[in-house]
């Protein structure tokens, strides 16, 4: 691990009422790394993402991004530093066509600050970005209302909206869930391409097979606690992980 991590979380706690969602979570992410975050349902994966991106405020602990303490910042300020995320439950603008959905992230101060001044025609950039994630240009899917699109396209749209923000750290919250094998297979190359561009990626996934193929490192959460960390094969050999996934008797 490099000396100065891109993202550093130390001693993070969060509880919702009596439920301890995140319990003393610490992790580090190096620049350019693809980290997988896994765990059974309700283990606090999405809460961890919400804490990093500012949608939920931690009870205790510290989140540092590039030596800057971002604990408790408003979401829009965190995005401007270069952390973009997708939502597990897709959040498109249903009343707008797919490519008009892209205008809103492209309108962001983050994009202005990255590109400097004008981006050019936002509609054109939107169509280019959508083509990258698999909206075939000739099929006019990009012009359809988001409310009429199938789940596979909505997930791609969600990814495109995050990519449009030109993030350094991209957080993908269960991007593969609800997708067919073929759809997942078509998205994996997009993620690999993003890695080649030097993006740091945090992936939350239930589709372990696909995740293990592309992840550098895996962290396993259970009841808000980190129970294992390391390479995919090592992690799956871990007794605590087997217990968490298969029950106590396994």
């Amino acid at each position: 691990m490099s000396s100065s991590p891109l993202l550093k979380i130390s001693g993070l706690y969060k509880n919702f009422g009596g439920v301890q969602a995140i319990n003393d979570l610490s992790l580090e992410m190096a620049e350019g790394e693809l980290l997988g975050l896994i765990g059974p349902n309700g283990s606090g994966k999405t809460t961890a993402v919400n804490l990093i991106t500012g949608f939920v405020k931690p009870a205790e602990g510290e989140i540092t991004y590039r030596t800057r303490d971002i604990t408790g910042w408003a979401p829009y300020k965190i995005v401007r530093l270069g952390i973009a995320r997708t939502f597990q439950m897709v959040k498109p603008f249903y009343q707008l066509p797919a490519f008009k959905n892209m205008i809103i992230p492209l309108y962001s101060p983050r994009v202005k600050q990255q590109v400097g001044g004008k981006y050019g025609d936002r509609d054109a950039v939107a169509l280019d970005l959508l083509e990258e994630v698999g909206f075939e240009r000739d099929a006019f899917v990009a012009y359809k209302m988001a409310s009429t699109l199938p789940q596979g396209y909505l997930k791609r749209l969600e990814l495109a909206k995050a990519i449009a923000l030109q993030p350094n750290l991209l957080i993908l919250d269960e991007l593969f869930s609800g997708l067919s094998l073929a759809e997942v297979a078509s998205i994996v190359p997009i993620i690999e391409k993003l890695r080649q561009q030097g993006k740091t990626i945090l992936m939350i996934e239930h589709r372990l097979k696909e995740l293990f193929r592309i992840a550098d490192r895996i962290i396993v959460l259970n009841f808000g606690e980190k129970i294992a960390e390391g390479k995919a094969e090592e992690v799956m050999e871990n007794e605590a992980v087997k217990k968490a996934y298969l029950g106590a008797e396994a």
Binding site: A74, P75, R85, F93, L96, K100, I103, I104, Y107
Partner: protein, 334 residues
């Protein structure tokens, strides 16, 4: 015989919306008629009307502006029940500037528009974080509170109000300024909402967390939308002050909050044109029913109920559909 209704987009509509191929007078007229109709219609209508109906048209325009102001907030995800706050603030500001400082309407109306907008925005900023019904409740209460403040402290004429204010130079100016303002608001805001800035506002209505997630400060955008909407309302109020030559507690009346919403609902929610259309239907209707005396409100209410049940989409959406589509009955086998 079983039959079903088939709806087909008119060829012109399909072409003009997608690739914008305008290649004949017929097509150009098809596109321009809906835009030209309100412009030409309003400008000519005001020439032909009697003095009484000119006054009604003036009142219609004011309510249409308030309905546009309501629609602007609704499109940004803020359902307001207090257009009277905007109207009343503008009205009082214009009245105060004219009465105490002697400024002419040419100065008081623009200033009341801007400062009324700033005042209302400032008052509502603390509650911008509230969503849905909670925001609505605050907007409903604020004008009622202001009335009581004026009544209790007896400022600005207290319950009597301020009368003897300056009038506009002529009745032609009275009618044309408000009509031009209405047309400017109608077409200007329509354009604004289809710009990239407008898309962000619509996005906030659709999914505010997603807009936040794009690194956009939604409160700043809500403030801008609120300022635009409240300025429009304040303009309407300031204008009416110089028409009635009086400003008093009635400017915060519930009418100014409820009628714009009724207009927007009857006309069709989601479009500015719908709100204006609704105002043009409801205000004259209320005038016609005036002869019925006490039963007026009953018939008025009945009409509203019939309308919302029979045409829940609103008149504008209905007309729009009829205009863009051919409808015909086709036979269904067996």
């Amino acid at each position: 015989m079983k039959r079903r209704k088939e709806r087909i987009n008119r060829g012109i509509n399909v072409r003009s919306n997608d690739i914008f191929a305008v290649c004949s007078w017929r097509e150009m007229l098809y596109l321009s008629t809906p835009r030209l109709l309100p412009i030409v219609g309003l400008l000519i209508l005001s020439l032909t009307l009697s003095m009484y109906w000119q006054r009604v048209l003036l009142s219609v325009s004011v309510f249409a502006l308030l309905a546009i102001s309501w629609e602007m907030l609704a499109l940004t995800g803020m359902v307001s029940l207090g257009q009277a706050l905007f109207f009343g603030s503008g009205a009082y500001l214009a009245g105060i500037m004219n009465h105490y400082w002697g400024w002419s309407p040419a100065v008081t109306i623009p200033l009341a528009t801007i400062f009324g907008g700033l005042f209302c925005t400032g008052v509502l900023i603390p509650v911008l974080r509230l969503r849905g019904i909670y925001f609505s409740m605050v907007t409903l209460v604020l004008p009622l509170m202001l009335v009581r403040v004026i009544e209790a402290t007896r400022i600005f004429g207290g319950t009597v109000g301020i009368s003897g204010l300056a009038a506009l130079p002529s009745s032609w100016i009275e009618i044309y300024v408000i009509i031009i303002a209405l047309l400017a608001a109608l077409f200007g805001f329509r354009r604004l909402m289809s710009s990239d800035f407008g898309l962000v506002l619509k996005g906030i209505n659709d999914n505010d967390r997603s807009v936040m997630n794009a690194g956009i400060n939604i409160y700043w955008f809500k403030i801008q939308s609120l300022f635009i909407a409240s300025s429009v309302g304040a303009f309407a109020g300031a204008y009416m002050t110089h028409i009635y030559l009086f400003v008093g507690m009635p400017v915060f009346a519930l009418d100014y909050s409820i009628l714009p919403i009724a207009a927007a609902v009857v006309g069709g929610i989601g479009t500015f044109a719908g709100s204006v259309l609704g105002a043009f239907l409801l205000v004259p209707l209320s005038e016609i029913l005036r002869g019925l005396g006490g039963l007026r409100i009953v018939f008025y209410g009945l009409f509203l109920v019939i309308f919302t049940v029979a045409l829940p989409e609103g008149i504008f959406h209905y007309i729009q559909r009829k205009y863009h589509q051919i409808e015909r009955w086709v036979e269904v086998e067996k």
